[in-house]
Symmetry: C5
Subunit: 257 residues, 5 copies
Amino acid sequence: MDIATLLGLISGAIVLSTLILMGGDFRMFYDIHAVIIIFGGSFAATLIRFPMSAMIHGLPLGAKLAFQLSSLSARDLVDELARIAEVARKQGPVGLEKVETSEPFLAKGIRYVADGYDLEFIRDNLERDRDNFLLHLNEGSKIYRAIGDCAPAFGMIGTLLGMVQMFSNMSDPSKLGPFMAVALLATLYGALVANLICLPIADKLHGRLIDEETNRTLIIDGILMIRDSKSPTLVREMLLAYLPEKHRHEEGELVPA
Amino acid sequence: MDIATLLGLISGAIVLSTLILMGGDFRMFYDIHAVIIIFGGSFAATLIRFPMSAMIHGLPLGAKLAFQLSSLSARDLVDELARIAEVARKQGPVGLEKVETSEPFLAKGIRYVADGYDLEFIRDNLERDRDNFLLHLNEGSKIYRAIGDCAPAFGMIGTLLGMVQMFSNMSDPSKLGPFMAVALLATLYGALVANLICLPIADKLHGRLIDEETNRTLIIDGILMIRDSKSPTLVREMLLAYLPEKHRHEEGELVPA
Amino acid sequence: MDIATLLGLISGAIVLSTLILMGGDFRMFYDIHAVIIIFGGSFAATLIRFPMSAMIHGLPLGAKLAFQLSSLSARDLVDELARIAEVARKQGPVGLEKVETSEPFLAKGIRYVADGYDLEFIRDNLERDRDNFLLHLNEGSKIYRAIGDCAPAFGMIGTLLGMVQMFSNMSDPSKLGPFMAVALLATLYGALVANLICLPIADKLHGRLIDEETNRTLIIDGILMIRDSKSPTLVREMLLAYLPEKHRHEEGELVPA
Amino acid sequence: MDIATLLGLISGAIVLSTLILMGGDFRMFYDIHAVIIIFGGSFAATLIRFPMSAMIHGLPLGAKLAFQLSSLSARDLVDELARIAEVARKQGPVGLEKVETSEPFLAKGIRYVADGYDLEFIRDNLERDRDNFLLHLNEGSKIYRAIGDCAPAFGMIGTLLGMVQMFSNMSDPSKLGPFMAVALLATLYGALVANLICLPIADKLHGRLIDEETNRTLIIDGILMIRDSKSPTLVREMLLAYLPEKHRHEEGELVPA
Amino acid sequence: MDIATLLGLISGAIVLSTLILMGGDFRMFYDIHAVIIIFGGSFAATLIRFPMSAMIHGLPLGAKLAFQLSSLSARDLVDELARIAEVARKQGPVGLEKVETSEPFLAKGIRYVADGYDLEFIRDNLERDRDNFLLHLNEGSKIYRAIGDCAPAFGMIGTLLGMVQMFSNMSDPSKLGPFMAVALLATLYGALVANLICLPIADKLHGRLIDEETNRTLIIDGILMIRDSKSPTLVREMLLAYLPEKHRHEEGELVPA
């Protein structure tokens, strides 16, 4: 569970609710026209922008992953893989059946080794899995960014629609206020959808993408070395050497800081 | 048929119609001045921006391809090419005459092989075809993006034109409303043309460009190997090796997901 | 003659004239203050931005080239050069004196060969010519882009100047209208200068730059091979091999399409 | 102490106070709604945007480092390291215990050498320290930039919230003024937080990051050479050769200029 | 003297004066609040953004160089260096004492050679000089760009400050005009400082940086070859070969054009 995403959404909701309740009630800030143009318009533009398959896979995956914490840091992962290599060394593939891990992708790799599949099959399957996952994660990040980029424009479109109707029907200027309030709601919704939800989620997914690429490649390399019965020391050393510099000491920092 | 583009345009139209009908009628949102400045202005600027030949080829090709689904994924294409290599193996070039395929570019390549043209001629013709196609697709994507970038500016120009006329003739402030409504229509049209139509289509065409480049290069490589009577297994393996990593497992993902 | 640029400017003028005449007359849209701030301000900022020599060479060259069609496509050029190599083969350098060509830079190269200058002299002179030409074309493209980027800002400055005067002198709100109309004209002029003229011309010049770089380098290489009495077939093959892929089939496409 | 940052903040505060006191008093510019939306909204969006650990480490580190002067320039550092190598040469590791330095990272390295740790241990520890430090500094710079990018948007959101309430409740247009003033405060706060505080700090941290990367790498290389008992002359020459060109003469310039 | 910069600033001043005098007088456009926020705010933000030393060196150097013409083009410089090599050839180092040149950096190099310093010393000193100069020129360009980027934001902040005060004190709407005029002055000042002064100067300094890097490197290479008693022909040929292509024919173009 990535607590930051949830905390961020909750505190955003609290901030908005507080401000709204301080100056009136929620009904003043609800307008069906604004909801239709922001969500309908952004949905339509996003449909045109991406192929159907990207929408089907990327959107829900992104929503799920934004709230999911990367279970292990790259450095923890190397330790975990060295531990598993230790088990495989001492007890053979059979011993791996009892190994437990919190990372599902790693668990899948361990099961393949325990079941005695050959190297080629394991590599092919895990790489295909990793590539699909990263492809959809990337699509998810791009879709949220695209929505965050066009929502303010649809907010402006909604406000313009409202103002055109308001000015066209205007006979009594004193009734201009409430119409203006409703027209501005579309701009408000667009800015909120973009700046409080979609753009931050797109940024978080982009960060996730970079982490997952490192981690899943690490897992594949580690699993293949374990399948090859490499010694735990060798597994740890080679995986550490693969780590990009900035990941190499990432975990260590959390201890002394 | 790329259903997403069509669905997107239809849902965009529904969203707009709903909003317009909820608050008035269509006539309130039609203004000939706004139509002239948005379409005339964007057309004039685009004419200056691009050479004539890019306009003639890129614009209609883009409009067509935005609605056309890439018939096969890269991975399906490799399977298709291996199947065709199988046929060529067993029945010789003559057998290819009866092979059917949904991809016109592939069909053209097969016909060349069936007709017994030599390798050099086939490569030259297919590569020239591919390059022309990609060139025009790229021009199309750029033209739609250029229109999407300048339409909001012409919307603002239209609104300014309307406001200058309105303020110049202003004697009775109470009649300011309907004039203002009309002036705002140009900004509204510009924002809609850009955000609901042109920019999403430019993005879709850009995505198509990347896919088509991979697919058509794959087809050319495959056809040349079939012309060379390579075995189906070799065709499949070599083409898979050519695939960029993200395409290699693209199709597979659609099955289990 | 690049018809697209001219057509674009003419249709832009028609669009504006139509809109202006539909709602009033030209005098309503002319204001000497707006003319001074847009042209004076952009001119002053551009003078500071670039060295004097870039202004003197780049600005008129850009204006000229935006309307001039690249006489030959890269592929036509290769055919032309092969044809000239044929002539030089059969009739010797003397025969080149009667060769006619629509491209002045090519004509200059042919004259050098016909006059029997040595290889070193020809290469030096043509490369110096090409580099000067590309340098000024690049300066021209940058200057038009710089004007297009700052014109809207000077439009805003003009409108602010007008509004400050208007608000300062304001005693009778009913006379606010015509002053406002005049103030808005500066913003209108800035948006038109940028979006209808300068930015599209900068884009066209940038496209020209890329084409001319390929063409003039092709011509130099071809002329040097002709001076060296290479065979026409060799000239054609080597020049085609130099062409970047996207240019290689450019001309072919125009025939069947 | 980086005097520039402090002077900048103080002069910014003086400028604002002067302007506010010239036209009224501070109470006129304080509004709890605007404070809540700017700080609450930016905080919520930043929480969603970054992982929790980046927030915990990067934000305070950034705040601290923006005010801290890089104690030594790269060139001073080379001189310092050569001086320490001199001491180590003459008095052995024991002599290092008495060496004093203003740079804590360098002091740590000297202590390791004085305590006789082996090369591998020293390199590992110092590199891990440097990488953690740079990672958090980079996170800090990115977080301040993200806040600076979204604060104006939340300012606009706050103003829209206020205007919706104002227009909804509007019965007496003459009371519109004070409400409008309050609504504009959110935009004002957002612009100040972004342009006077967050974006400049993000830029300063980015500059720090580049300097610290050079300096800490220099220190590690120097300490390892001292551990290896290299001669002071060699230490100085090799470190100068490592320096990127622009740093090589940085210190020298401060003397004659 | 770079006439373009001076002409640009003068014509900008004339344009503004003309517009102001056509519609009123200068006092209408002077407001102490706007001066304080634009200059104070931009100064404060720039202090936070850059280290103190960059401000002290970069700002005045930039101001000076924007008005100073690069005394010689790269091609002239090669001729000058060949001429000096000729003198050194014929009369020995002593003859160099009488050589005159308009470029101070070149003069310094000649003096070093005439005084008989060794190669290493000359290279070290000239490179250190060049690097310091380029470093400060780069800082100057960045500082002017940073001011140009934040001045419009401080203009908006000034206008918001003014509008908040205006709306808070508003009792008589008929007095709103003059207050509004004053509030708009800050936006006007910000736009002028950015678009007429700082951004164009930053662009000119960036152009200077590229030229000076080429020229000073050329001078150092030439001086070292002269110190080595290379022949004038060799000096010219080797320096021409070092020139990036676009500089090689720069001077030539000015003659025939």
